[in-house]
Amino acid sequence: MTAFQRLLVFVRPYRRAFLVGLFCILVTQSVALTAPVVLQRTIDDLAAGVSGAKLTFYGALLLAIGVIRGCFQFLMRRVIIGVSRDIEYDMRNAFFAHLQTLPLSYFQANRTGDLMSRATNDLNAVRMMIGPSVMYAANTLFVFVVAIALMLALDPWLTLWSLLPLPLVSISVKVFGSAIHRRFERIQAQLSELSAVAQEALGGVRVVRAYGQEVSELDRFRRANQEYVNRSRHLIVLQGFFFPSMGLFLGLGAMVVLWLGSRAVVSGRITLGEFVAFNAYLTMLSWPMIAFGWVTNMLQRGMASWKRMVDVLDVPPAIHDAPEAAIYASSELRGDIEFRDLTFAFGSRAPVLRHVSATIPAGTTTALVGVTGSGKSTLVNLLARVQDPPVGTVFVDGIDVRALPLSVLRAAIGCVPQEPFLFSDTIADNVAFGLDGRLGQGGREGRLPRVLDAAAIARLDKDVADFPQGYDTHVGERGLTLSGGQKQRTAIARAIAIDPRILILDDALSAVDTHTEEEILTRLRDVMRQRTSIIVSHRISTVRGADQILVLDEGRIIERGTHDELLGLDGLYADLYRKQLLEEELAAS
């Protein structure tokens, strides 16, 4: 589907409204075009001698024309611009809905600001294209055709002469318009440059100050600033010429009417009234002439922006359900996990995981230990299909995760990520984040007890008791700033609240102090007894109670067993253990 066809998909549902809008334009301009006729009659009747009653009638008629025109003008704007807002709304929703289907890697590869700009700035340009510019284009076309026809009917010769400068207007709008656009973009580019210079110097303020480079940085900025002014000057030269030239060209038309029109009246070819009407038509034509060039630029810009949006809409959702997944659609998973000779790499880079095989029976706890970059997080991400593992490598209850519907798989998994992301909402809303997704909007029954339970297990309850509004306290930018540990515990509560079969704690206790950690682990133990748990951690204290500990190094499992068995091996795990004992001792001093 071409970009244009995709655009039509959004526009088509509103074709009726567009037709109504076009009808309003038709009426507005038809009525408006009768005003010069009334004017003509008035003047001619005045010249011929007229009754006062008739004069009053003409005045009333002009006012009536104005009122009717005004009403339809109101409707026109209301309908067409309103529809453009409706379409904008549809498009933004579609855009956001599509973003929700895109994989994590897409958000890592594309800057948030860029995506946001497409959903706001670009969308606005698209809206301008389907709203105001359609409105002005239709107005222009209609006035243009009818006014010129009426003028031709009055006096073809005078029409031709007076319209002579008008194409110049449109041409100059078009030519200047695109030149102005180009120069404007050069200014924008320089603005980015200026920003980059400032960003670097402000971001590196310590280096700048330490090496006493304030003055040279100021110079660098001055040069970029000067270049910005220079480029602006190029634009100003054009703009300064462009707008007044409009007045000049339009004025020339008026001059022709004044000059040749007066002669025509004197020679009796036209009446004085027709001469005045002629002037009025010419005035009515001037705005459409300006709008014409403006509209073409707007269409160009709108299409360019729409293409930028389509670029995103065309990205296929990377992870979607396999066709055969439907047979598992209503499955309840037990939580037996198996990794079978799993080797995984991001793109063409070196493998992050190599030949990983492990079995995690339902209801047991498995710990993953290893240095940063050893592949722990990737392993749990593959289980939750944050990334897709190769077919035939990761199994839950003996079913390849690739064959499971994503909704079934994720319903079974409660995940606490390394750097938990909380939303600027209340504590309760954050804890019930996954729960609400399950209950759906409005399903509030039994919500609070589950929030309280989960918070108690994650040892969040005592913190919340100190918050001004308890569970209704807002977190994030507009509210309370939570400490790293509080964030992690909120994330743990969030995962527990959905009562998952599989609980994943990805280094989820790193910012929690040892004492609290001990408390959480004790409470979690009850919860974990009934489910499969995977705990990723650097900390021995966190993992020592696990049924099975897997030590990862450079993507391979190099040691496996219980805490005591691994100490007996005297390998990497034992070394880590001794170091941490020392650290604890140090922290206590």
Binding site: L39, T42, L46, Y58, G59, V67, R69, G70, R77, R85, E88, Y89, N93, F96, Q100, L104, T112, L115, A119, T120, Q199, E200, L202, V205, R206, V207, R209, A210, Y211, G212, Q213, E214, S216, L218, N225, V229, R233, I236, F243, P244, G247, L258, R263, V266, L272, V276, V386, P420, F423, F433, G434, D436, G437, G440, I498, R578, K579, L582, L586, S589
Partner: protein
Amino acid sequence: MSDDEILGKAYDARLMRRLLTHLRPYWRQVAVALAAILVGSGAALAQPYLVKLAIDDHVATRRLEGLDQLALVYVAVLVVAFAAEYVQTWTLQLTGQRIMFDLRMAVYGHLQRLDLRYYDRNPVGRLMTRVTSDVDVLNDLFTSGVVTIVGDALTLAGIMAVMVWMDWRLAIVAFSVLPLIVLVTQWFRRNVRESYRVVRGWIAKINAFLQENITGMSTVQLFRREALNFARFDDIDRKYRDANIESIFYYAVFYPAIEVTSALATALIIWYGGFSVMRDTLTFGALVAFLQYSQRFFRPISDMSEKFNVLQSAMASSERMFGLLDEPVAIQSPRSPRVRPPTGLGHIAFEHVWFAYRPPTPGTPDEGVEWVLRDVSFDVRPGQRIGIVGATGSGKTTIINLLLRFYDVQKGRITIDGVDLRELDLQEVRSLFSLVLQDVHLFSGTIADNMRLGEQAIDDERVRRAAEAVYAHAFIESMGQGYGSAVAERGSTLSVGQKQLLSFARALAFDRRILVLDEATSSVDTDTEVLIQDALEVLMQGRTTIAIAHRLSTIQDMDQILVLHKGVLRERGSHQELLAQRGIYFRLFELQYRHQSHVTSLKS
């Protein structure tokens, strides 16, 4: 409250006066622009009058002589109007740009002087907004706001004057619609302002929601919140749309209302003017001219509504900008700086230094102050090498920050050659140090640019020698254009080790007496590690060195090692002395050496 949501009044006399002071250096240009506006308004006024003359003197009297001249005069008036408008646009916009240049330099210049404390409080993104967007908004004010309003007012006054002069009775009839216009405009302004605020509020919410959901998309997906979050987005999006549709209503009423008023004026002129023509107290030409004048009357009035928005956002921007410019600079050179004794070689002493990033407010007790350094005293004699060790958050980096006077101490003092830092010239203090930070900050530009920064005294030869000395020459040469190779944004094309070496080369090129080093913690491959160690040795040669050390090899050779623990200087001495104490250092060391099993021999 987010900055973008400040939406104060549209006109603030205090801010306006201050803004106008920036116009003062350009009073000549402004005068020229005003003169051009005057001429332009005059030319615009002349056009309907020429139409009147054509009708009354030629059409009505059927006299053709003089008509050609009149047409020529009309052309001349058009050309004058064109020229005047050109001059006006050109001077105004250019002056606007110059003022923006000045303002940007003022804001940026002030940022270069502001304390680091200010940077701690304000993220770089916000500062950028001050330098770029806020200043740009003001541009609109100068170019399409303030001065053109004067022009519009002049034109209006001119039109009214000419109308009164031509026929005061008809003029009064035409003006009778004025109160209506004022009412409509008032109504529009009040409502649009409110609805603009509402619309802005919702778009801010859309932005916040998008920002949060895009950043946290994986959480949304993992917890299967797509449907619910979509419903929420839909809700905000719908409210934004509805707010917009409401504001369309005001526009949709305003423009036609002005048109209807204009039609009313036309009808009145036709009606009353027609009677006057019948009574021969008004000519046809004057009637037509009146109609044209009344048309020109309405344009500036409907323009006003747009200028209102410009004014409103300009006030908000200038408030933020002046806020920054008014931010006091606490850390600066004293009026009459003292001079270090000429024999001084840079003897540094910390004397009972206390410091907190959030300083205690005067008059309140010190309880609750989070001291980062508590009563820290030590001294560094010229040529000495000092290592500072301690856990994260123990205050190591703070010592560097204080030494370079990025912050001032709250109690105690820091002296160089016996003189308090705060009494010395700031530039002189900082010119004593070469600073190497943990994460290397690179600027876009060439490799050479990054080594000399802006220092013109450092020539290519010195750049090359410095790079050679710290073993950076080889990798630099291997890059396409050698020292002229471009460094990408934040040096993303260079490895961590290469960036380190580059920062060493920078420090060496500046050749300062004292080396301040915040050693990088990130690990690099073994080959680079060896290079870095050798390069460090070169760098420290013959220089006083203060290093926050992470590597064993760096620490061991230090003349003195300071052990910081929770802001307190707990131990000091040489490597051997500290090991013998069996204190914090000993345990830190134990921790470290286990990491590097090849030094097990030291265990005994």
